[in-house]
Symmetry: C3
Subunit: 440 residues, 3 copies
């Protein structure tokens, strides 16, 4: 079988990890949101690595039940104390401003101010990440420890944002393959300085796109870098007629932390992507867990809404919401690890290998075994047991009835997928197998 | 969701139990059989609590493979010893007479008499319950201990019964609901002084009918108080055209003893009643076990005969035949407990709750999630995890594809059925869901 | 039920075992191959016990992807040392010659000779069994210990074989039953002096055919004694139009060693033979294991090729290739045991019992239970639990819906298959059941 993984493994995992982490580091300081210049700059940086087609969808555009919101941009935000000192400063952390805050400039008492403050009492050193996309509001996020130090007095608050008609931005990287059927890899690119969620996904997806660029591919690949929820909804609304070409899909997020893998299955639960990922995980050498589909999560929520029900799963290391650093300032560049990023990329490469090579064949000699010996595909001396190579041929021949994919045969036989693929290639070359569509 | 259980739980369980036990106590002394005045009086007492429609089916009526037998009534029965003393006396226990004994008045030697005596050597203090409905016979049941005391001599036996053309009696309580589809609750009412089998069922079923009376119900409810086997067969023969409206059914018996619940599934094994009862049992706070269908047992034998194959299960506490008191004088009023009766009723109420509220819906916005926020059905500040209430909405929206019932969604999500029902109601009111028939 | 097993169990198992082992002993010395006089003589000996129809298929005949090879016969073969002494002598063991060796007569140095020698270094006292049917070659098999004793010098090798146009020979024993639907029992008869593989199969199959001869049978039985692989392929090629009448099939091999049973399921995995064998194994009183189908093995490879996909499983004791004696001189007459052979035969008899008696019925009274009492098929005194006999009747009546076979009912009820069959017979005689084809 054509093996991208074999090529990948010729590089140093440490080197790959370093590059992925550096890329995350470059993106980290930018204040992103679901619209605005932060995501535009981010896509610009990604676009310097891979060919990215940018889309701008005007505010007010109706997308299914939703409307593209006004564009949000932030220049500055702070809280000054009576002494005029910035006690909370957007320039120190972009998490300090409630994401999508409307502009405000006012003087308030401490108790008035507290109505607009968000903290994490259980993690007093961390700044929470909070948003208010669809309800006009303003606020600041800060460490609980700092809030406790605020003394009575008058505070000047300034949120220098704009919320105006503009557009929602997303980027797509399309790698055409021999078939117009697509594999979609989708990452949300709307979170500000949060490393695992989801600079990790952006780094891994970009690197995967780079790896696949220029390769002779079976499927076409589409990488989506989009704002969460509204971005996926917008993309689906604008591509409704084309979703039928999506054969496999994967949402990529939180793939840099120290945890083992978690794969959340598509709503279908038995899609080929689910089977292929299960196989890839089993052989990746790391601990992994497979989770049933749930309707809450990342953008698989939209791809797997019942009207679409697309075969889209979600790959994570630690599951969002289950690690305390989630959506806080502690999800920083130290929270993600070069090696973990590299191994996540490696898993994606092995998944692509499975998808690219998994096919259905039809035996051209279904009645009795064909005589492999006369084709030099069998051992010439009889009486001793056959080896794995010949066994793989017998399995592939017997179960190439159009109903079993090569991956099905690998699973049923317990033989490596690569051995089954090699057998299928050899048998095809010998005219014993012909590829079929495998409609079940 | 409309919750009968919530209403039920406002009453005192102890009070309910006391009433149920008192009702059983009132019915206990009557000598019932599959026909005759005993079952008529029993139905009269039930009819004083709930509206009962009585049916009289003449002896000789053909019902499928069976024939309604002659009517049996008993005035007196005894065995007198040589001294003229009643050593076995029907007036002391109606179990003493072999149920459906033909009339006899004769003098016999002890050895001749013994041909007609039934005892339980392994429980020498208990009187067995024996019947001979379809073979003309006579006999007495007595404790083994007593039989051993019978000395040689001539005995006068008298069984003052009548076996004449008459009719088979049964009672139905019909509570019309919004739909003509029916839930059938069936209890055998033919056993004489046996408490668990089945005064417990009669008490619980009557109380359930009382509770449901006058309520605004989705389904119509039909309570059947019938003689075992021949009664169910007679009812089915006379209602053959109408059984298609039976959507769910439950046979209720042995629900007063100290044991945990046993539910025997319908022959179908995957009927909605089976799923609903499994859910109710899981959440009832008692131990319970679910049994596969077997063709031997109570009247589910008839409802689940292959030609009907109705979705009818059977609820018990201890399973008939597995407790030594079964069909003996030890199945008396001490063997059933007020608290156990009340909890059985409570379980039935919770089952009705599930059946009444379990529906199928179709999402009106199947493409991507609808925007719950603009309908005030979502949390306005993003970034933190959602609560169970919102989660229930997402589950209900995503799986309301016409194929999944609310109970299916509750099971799949692990969320309480009540939360899913509440979500469905709210989403329906918001126009996001529309109920469907759920034909699978 | 008609029980062949009951008849079988009247004989002494020890006596049966002795006869089976004697039969294997008689066949042991013959040098068999996939063609030639060895298999002809073998079939002649089998034909003296059971009526065998012989087929001769000319060399060169095309059979699917294969061609019937030239016929091979061996008169003598040896290696002589410089002293002219036979150091390797075919007359001492027919395993010494590479099966299907072309003729050769030459003088070689030791190193030249070694190119043609096969030994088993890990078992230095055993002679391996090797073949070269489809690639022209010559060689000798010998113990490793002996090979180490060969000193430098010139050796005379002589293989006095013929490889000429002739024919492939196989034998069939056909026992007509009431139906033209067939049970096929297939054994390979091509191995030389190897006892478990497969004189054990030949002995057991012949004895089974003897037992069934002249019996009133439901199915027709066809016993195939054929050369491995090419024989099965030839038979299938010549009987392609008739395979649809094969209702059940079993390959029999390695059934004499000390191991417990292994049954390899048909490719279908849920064929009636798979279910019947599982039942027979469960009740045979020996340890057994059921294996999933794999495309490597004995002639089930051909019967279960995807174009045929026949319901053919394979019964073994120890699985080929898993015991060290496999395909060596250690698979001799001591390796197979009279008692094990007899118990293998007994299992086959019990399998035939299940197949012969497993039927589908349709209840003629599907609405409610029929009244068994009036047919004397029920206990007349009610009130106590019924016995297994009556329980079997209720199970059989309730599940005789045309979809459940008697074996299905036995498995579901947990009652013995024989009890269910007895119930079905009694109920049929009473007009309550009618046999159906059971098309599912």
């Amino acid at each position: 079988m054509t093996s991208l993984l074999r090529q990948f493994d010729q590089q140093s995992l440490a080197e790959i990890g370093r590059e992925l982490h550096e890329f995350a580091t470059e993106l980290y300081p930018i204040c992103r949101s679901i619209t605005g210049d932060g995501i535009r700059r981010t896509l610009g940086i990604i676009g310097a690595k891979i060919q990215l087609q940018m889309s701008e969808v005007p505010s007010g555009t109706e997308v299914f039940d939703w409307t593209v919101p006004k564009e949000w941009n932030v220049r500055d935000a702070y809280i000054k104390n009576t002494a005029g000192r910035r006690v909370v400063d957007f320039r120190q952390s972009n998490l300090h401003v409630l994401n999508y805050s409307k502009p405000v400039h006012a003087k308030l008492s401490l108790s008035e101010l507290k109505q607009h403050l968000f903290t994490l009492p259980e993690h007093p050193d961390w700044i929470p990440y909070r948003t208010s996309y669809y309800k006009l509001a303003w606020g600041f996020c800060l460490t609980h420890k700092q809030m406790l130090t605020l003394s009575e007095g008058e505070y000047e608050v300034c949120i220098d944002t704009t919320l105006e008609n503009g557009s929602l931005t997303y980027g797509e990287c399309c790698l055409p393959g021999r078939s117009s059927e697509e594999v979609v890899i989708s990452c949300h690119a709307c979170h500000p300085s949060l490393a695992n969620d989801n600079l990790s996904g952006l780094a891994v997806a970009s690197a995967l796109a780079q790896l696949l660029s220029g390769k002779d591919l079976r499927y076409s690949y589409r990488f989506l870098f989009i704002p969460g929820t509204i971005g996926a909804i917008t993309w689906l609304a604008r591509n409704r007629e084309n979703v039928s070409r999506i054969r496999h899909g994967l949402v990529l997020t939180c793939v840099g932390d120290a945890g083992g893998f978690h794969y959340k299955k598509s709503r279908r639960g038995n899609a080929e992507i689910d089977q292929a990922m299960a196989y890839a995980l089993q052989h990746c050498g790391e601990t992994s867990e497979i989770l049933e589909f749930t309707p809450y999560g990342y953008d698989e929520r939209q791809y797997c809404s019942p009207g679409f029900n697309l075969p889209v799963g979600c790959l994570m290391r630690s599951v969002w919401g289950t690690f305390p650093e989630y959506h806080t300032s502690a999800d920083n560049l130290d929270f993600i690890h070069p090696d973990q990023l590299a191994r996540s990329l490696r898993l994606c490469v092995s998944l692509v290998d499975v998808l690219e090579n998994n096919r259905h064949y039809l035996s051209q000699n279904p009645f009795c075994e064909p005589q492999l010996g006369k084709r030099n595909l069998y051992s010439s001396t009889g009486g001793k047991s056959i080896d794995e190579e010949i066994n793989a041929r017998l399995w592939t021949l017997n179960f190439s009835d159009g109903k079993h994919s090569l991956l099905d045969i690998a699973e049923r036989s317990g033989l490596p997928f690569a051995s089954i693929c090699d057998a299928a290639r050899l048998l095809s070359e010998g005219g014993l197998l012909v590829e079929t569509s495998g409609e079940v």
